[in-house]
Symmetry: D2
Subunit: 307 residues, 4 copies
């Protein structure tokens, strides 16, 4: 059995992402034991302690950007490694207890990341409703079922599991909203290169002008492209950042290895976050160049065998 | 009278920041009419509509990074311009109604940005308390005063204004936490160069590899340093970003002008967000070089007068 | 009358280049007084002293590269400026006294730059001939006419002027060989921009790693292309160089001005060598971009008039 | 016996350089058979044909820059490799036949590279003398001994060998002039790294803007410094160049290998010219950084063993 923590309870988008990855390596084959927890930090903490094999956590929203709590948890504490990713379309059901209608809704709960994605709908249909913070959207649904809150935004499946009614379905202020989830474990062998991979790193840089430019140049000069770059405050001082970068390519690609070795010299606290298959490479994704021939040329020079 | 909107009600950190800037240009001299509103977006909207002269809004926290709602509001809609900035030490009073003690506290409210900054204190002193979302910390204090909520995190001044008691003072999970606020108006003449200035721009880049590196090179090659770089999703697709950059220097510095003109050619949607005096330049801040002599040399070439 | 020194006597390629430029600015209109001298250094020296208005000197060969003596003379002494350029096809007549044949040729003279361009012909037709150094090809022809030398390589016109016979015509080891000549005067107003111009500079750089790369970046970042880059020893130490760069573009192009101002800060001894119309821009020549709109955008920011 | 060709006859600076390297690898130990030839091209040709093991050729003068004939010969034909270098102080004796004095000197011979280094002395002491071209300075001395020429510039040793008199000793227009010589063989095992090495490459680049900058960036980004960069016309068109670069470092240095592999992808016709011990590293010479630790970090990532 493979134990995987996720932001529960049953019915969250995170659970949907986990089920999506259940048939794929490294989860496929062995039985799956999903363990709901109440925060990404708790999900990752269980993996760090050895209480779980993997954690499934949201890492990026096309609407709100990075899930900062996941980012911060990934880099605080012992090293972790990403093994897989998936993306989920994000649209909400507005759930109430059976028989309730809009007029009766005084209070509304959702996860803080979900709120900005249904705010226009709320302004239009539930103006002035009292907003509450839930640890997950499915947890918000539980509070509606218990009668503590009148309505919530949650995945449709959460309503089905709890027998709630839908005031509205498929609510999403931003059409096409998606969230990316990753499967995180302790450091281990990197999944095999598929040719459409991502590699993640996280690092701080010396506090001098030009260090970010120099770091980015290490990628550019090797034609290694980035799909994402984020900065998070280190909390040490205003303007001090930790960078998170997603690289298009795999650790087994020589240009990626070269860029990582170069970054190792420039960065102050560099973490390798894994190489894994990309869920959906964009049309503009360009993997690093094949440099096999150039490396062979150099290797042949030392003993004069080039002719 | 100069009308300035701010995140109210009275007693917020934003009000403290506004009072801090009241004696400085462009607010000094004329009478000040502070107008509390319930969100940064509302504060900026009033300026855009002409209902207010300026808005005072939080833009960055040393703990949580950019205030994303302010960022998004700054660049959605007609152009706005920053005229001034200040920074405020952030530490909270935990406020209750007079006579209440910890044991009686069941519910707790704070602004979503404040919550992560008192969470350790909450875990230690009010474990399991029900968390509520308030539009501002001072609004949370009002809800405590009204009896709707049992406790809140807010500036000490909010408690004084409302006659609340302090369960704890000077609470801050992260020591030295600060928040930066800016004074925003409609586009107008740029404040005079002081020699320790910031210039803000916001832009998107063509979706090709290397465009961020090329943009950063325009600054580096002119020895123009950046104090901050942020990426925010454009909400159009996963991985599409809008960048916000704070430049060390003033529009009147020739290297800054050169970098902005270059960026104008590379960026797809470039907004100038103003040049203004820095609140507290760091010890490592290096303003752009003085290139007067080099420009004079070039100017003298055209008519052969260089000898 | 406009006095122009050139590498004489009559019949040199340099004279041909001068006649080629006689109908063009700045020579057109006024009468032309060509003054033969015996070296490029002498030609430039007369201009520096005020004894001549201009000098016509060879600057680059497609076969042998830079004419190093011209380069060195251009940068030793008071500043000079290039006003025009032309290119001449280089093919030689092998000249002897009337009636002479190959078998009678024991000695052969040519200008040192010409020798490598006829060496294959010499090896094939005059093996073992004694080689002599002449100050110009036409001077070599004079020595043949005088009987001091048996044969020489020179322009056909030199033979006609002196009544010599042609042992061979149109001799050129390298087909398509060309030499570029420039018209040099004292510093003065730069010729008007034509849209297909060259700008020359010469400079030394601080003796630190990366200074050449940094200097080249100033051009690249502004999309200013170079048509030529040469390094010449400064004679101060092994490995210390002076660089000569030809820029595609005119001093009136804003990106060229920007690059020159930047170079003025980086270089240790920078000389502007003029902006002039290119003789024959290559098909790959890309002039600097038109940045008028970007400069206008920046200029409008200072007084808030951008909307 | 190791056969080494050199620019003869006995008494040239090239012979002095060869004797200087006789006690060093790869010449030390085996007996040395020096074979005088009459040009660098002939010296290299004998090696290419297998008629000699090595050639000793001048490659750079601190006064006149690259010895262009050597450069061109090194890259025309089958590949060759540099195994060693040395530098020789260059000062000339002005040699005449015993009993002759200045007044009797009508003709003067020297190697074309030597002439510019004694020209000031000639202008001062032998104004108007007829200048002749010799294939080497020692060959010029032979012609003086034979009576064909009245005087020459040559190493003092050439005069001693031939019984000539010194009109002047230690003549050098430029004080401190030095010439660098290299020992060239067919491709073979690279000499061991000494920690103060040079690596030579020669290449052409695609005829597009920015290719030189991109190539130089491959060195700079890896902190690999260059001690020399030269451009030579390819003779195919005006403005088409072949570049010769000397790298500070050895093929066994990982950053050098990385830069060479990268250059292999960018260059159109790349030749490795060897790695060899530097004769005299300058005080500013900085070898490439030691990246052992960074490479070990990357190597440990694949199997998760980084903790």
């Amino acid at each position: 059995m493979t134990t995987v923590t996720f932001l529960g309870p049953a019915g969250t988008f995170t659970e949907a992402a986990l089920l999506d990855m259940a048939g794929l390596a490294p989860l496929a084959g062995a039985g799956l034991d999903p363990v709901p927890v109440d925060s990404p930090a708790a999900a990752l903490g269980a993996v760090r302690r050895g209480a779980a094999d993997y954690a499934c956590v949201a890492i990026e929203s096309s609407v709100d950007g990075p899930v900062t709590s996941t980012f911060d948890a990934l880099t605080a504490g012992p090293e972790l490694q990403i093994y897989r990713e998936t993306e989920i379309d994000v649209a909400f059901s507005i759930l109430v207890r059976p028989g309730a209608d809009s007029a009766a809704v005084r209070s509304f709960a959702a996860h803080p990341v979900a709120l900005p994605q249904v705010r226009q709908w709320l302004d239009a249909h539930l103006p002035g409703v009292e907003l509450h913070h839930a640890s997950s959207n499915a947890a918000a649904a539980h509070r509606v079922a218990e009668g503590a809150i009148d309505a919530c935004a949650a995945p449709a499946r959460a309503g089905e599991l709890l027998g709630l009614a839908e005031l509205a379905a498929d609510v999403a202020d931003v059409r096409g909203a998606r969230t990316r989830f990753v499967l995180v474990g302790r450091p281990g062998p990197v999944p095999a290169r598929t040719g459409r991979d991502r590699t993640g790193v996280s690092f701080t840089l010396p506090n001098r002008p030009g260090t970010l430019l120099d770091a980015l140049t290490e990628f550019a000069v090797r034609e290694v492209n980035l799909s994402r770059i984020e900065s998070r405050p280190t909390r040490e001082a205003m303007g001090a950042y930790r960078f998170h970068v997603d690289i298009i390519g795999h650790l087994a690609d020589a240009p990626v290895r070269g860029a990582l070795a170069a970054l190792h010299r420039r960065a102050e606290d560099l973490r390798f976050l894994g190489s894994w298959p990309a869920h959906a490479p964009g049309p503009a994704d360009a993997p690093p160049p094949d440099v096999t021939e150039s490396l062979a040329w150099v290797d042949a020079l030392a003993d004069g065998g080039r002719r």
